[in-house]
């Protein structure tokens, strides 16, 4: 018989013991370890998910903040730009105004300088003209300048038309003061007498005359009585001379400030 029943019983017992042993030492620890690992992995995954969510939230928040920051920065930048533009405009205006003022002052100064130059030229011309005329008259005609001027003045008086003569006569008679004869230089007594004679002759009345020297009567003689005036002078000639000198000066002086301004303007704009 191949079956030994004692061995069968023993093997059953052996097998049951082996089942218990392996359960105790193999399946339980292994399955427990696997379960624990799975649990741990699940926990870690859940944790990672939570962290990911948190990170996503933080990223969103950060992005939002960044956008806000960008917006604010743009706003500030725009404001600063506007302010800078306004400031630039203001400074430009100021500079333009200052330049304008300076130009005006320069122009005034130039004008003043020109005027004083004209005056100086007028004075010098007058002196030179008188000197030349005096010398020429003495050399050629044997007469003095003052004499010739008195003659010219009396000539002018004689040439007055009747109406003017009448008005002047009236003025002379109504005037409480003596008629005033002003000249740029002192008239010699001979000339004074000649003028007095001429007045008496022309206006028939006994004319009271007072002589006065006044440098502003430009190289000439004038008679004033109660608001009326008759004069002879070289002022007109001098005026035309001044005019021509003025034109000459302007021609020389005008281009310079103009070109200077043109050059200065772009520099200011910068």
């Amino acid at each position: 018989m191949l079956i030994d029943w004692f061995t069968v019983g023993a093997q059953v017992v052996n097998f049951l013991i082996l089942v218990w042993l392996l359960k105790r030492f193999l399946y339980k620890p292994i399955l427990d370890a696997i379960d624990a690992r799975e649990k741990r992995i699940a926990e870690e995954l859940a944790d990672a998910g939570a962290k990911q969510n948190e990170a996503r939230e933080q990223r969103d928040e950060f992005q939002k903040k960044n956008e806000e920051f960008d917006k604010q920065r743009d706003k500030l930048l725009n404001k600063a730009k506007d302010e800078a533009a306004a400031e630039r405009q203001r400074i430009l205006e100021e500079a333009r105004r200052a330049a304008g003022d300076l130009r005006a002052r320069q122009k005034d100064a130039l004008k003043r300088e020109q005027m004083s130059l004209y005056d100086e030229i007028g004075r010098r011309t007058r002196e030179e003209v008188f000197a030349i005329a005096r010398k020429t008259l003495t050399d050629l005609a044997g007469t003095s300048l003052e004499e010739r001027m008195s003659e010219a003045f009396t000539c002018r008086l004689r040439e007055l038309n009747e109406e003017a003569k009448g008005e002047f006569t009236k003025a002379l008679s109504t005037s409480p003061d003596a008629a005033l004869v002003r000249s740029a230089f002192e008239l010699p007594p001979a000339q004074q007498t000649a003028i007095r004679h001429a007045l008496n002759e022309i206006f028939t009345d006994e004319v009271r005359v007072r002589f006065e020297t006044a440098p502003d009567v430009i190289s000439g003689i004038e008679l004033t009585a109660n608001g009326r005036k008759v004069a002879w002078s070289i002022a007109d000639y001098l005026a035309s001379l001044n005019e021509s000198i003025g034109e000459l000066l302007e021609e020389h002086s005008k281009p310079e400030p103009q070109s200077g301004n043109k050059r200065a303007a772009p520099a200011e704009a910068k």
Partner: protein, 231 residues
């Protein structure tokens, strides 16, 4: 020449005897239990673990999966019994490469004991799952006429389990023994390798049939369908 390791008796006292079957079974038990103990002593629950632990995890999970695939919905409950069955039979077959080793499964007593255990387990799990009345009723399914056939089937399949395993394991050992006397050089090696394969296949068949029987006994209101697994 011994037909069964039962015949090699080391010690006897009356009815009690210590034959090669029991001794080699103890040796296998010692190796299995000690190995399991040593490997699981420093078990790690983290992602880093030893290679031996990995191997054991693979084996245990594979067996668990196999049980689940057969149709048992809670493999954990049956794992202790079924996995031990497979591991014991596989270890007994693998150890045939050791010279002088006598597989305990080459003894009809061992295979009978295991078949009886399977029979008991089927009954136990069937009653536990369905209740005693329902389990007994299942013998009279689909009609009471089938009752004797069902009982015969139950007994015969247990017997078949025992004899199939015994026949395969014993024949392997016998063939090697015979071949050693005829061509002692080359053929025994091939036959030994073949015996290894046969042993593993038999371990798997024994294990899967036991699983199928238990699954059939515990399945409620479903027709038994183990015939396709029967040889």
């Amino acid at each position: 020449m011994h037909l069964s390791p039962d015949e090699i008796i080391f010690w006897q006292y009356g009815l009690f005897k210590l034959n090669a079957t029991i001794v080699f079974t103890w040796a296998l038990m010692l190796v299995l239990a000690l190995g399991a103990k040593l490997i699981t002593r420093n078990i790690s629950i983290g992602l880093e673990r030893e290679r031996w632990q990995n191997l054991l995890e693979i084996i245990v999970i594979a067996i668990e999966k196999q049980i689940e695939e057969v149709g048992l919905s809670h493999p954990g409950r049956y794992l202790g019994f079924l996995a031990t069955l497979f591991l014991f039979l596989a270890a007994a077959a693998i150890c045939t490469v050791i010279p002088g080793y006598q597989p305990p499964t080459g003894s009809l007593s061992t295979t009978t004991a295991l078949a009886l255990c399977v029979f008991a387990a089927v009954t136990f799990f069937g009653i536990e799952e369905r209740g005693l009345g329902n389990y007994l009723k299942s013998y009279a399914q689909p009609t009471p006429i089938m009752l004797p056939f069902n009982i015969i089937s139950e007994v015969s399949r247990t017997l078949a389990l025992a004899v199939r395993l015994f026949g395969n394991m014993m024949s392997g050992a016998m063939i090697i023994g015979i071949l050693l006397t005829i061509t002692p050089l080359f053929f025994p090696v091939i036959m030994s390798a073949l015996g290894l394969l046969t042993g593993m296949v038999q371990a798997y068949i024994f294990f899967i049939l036991a699983t199928v029987y238990i699954a059939a006994a515990t399945r409620v209101g479903k027709p038994e369908s183990e015939s396709e697994y029967n040889e």
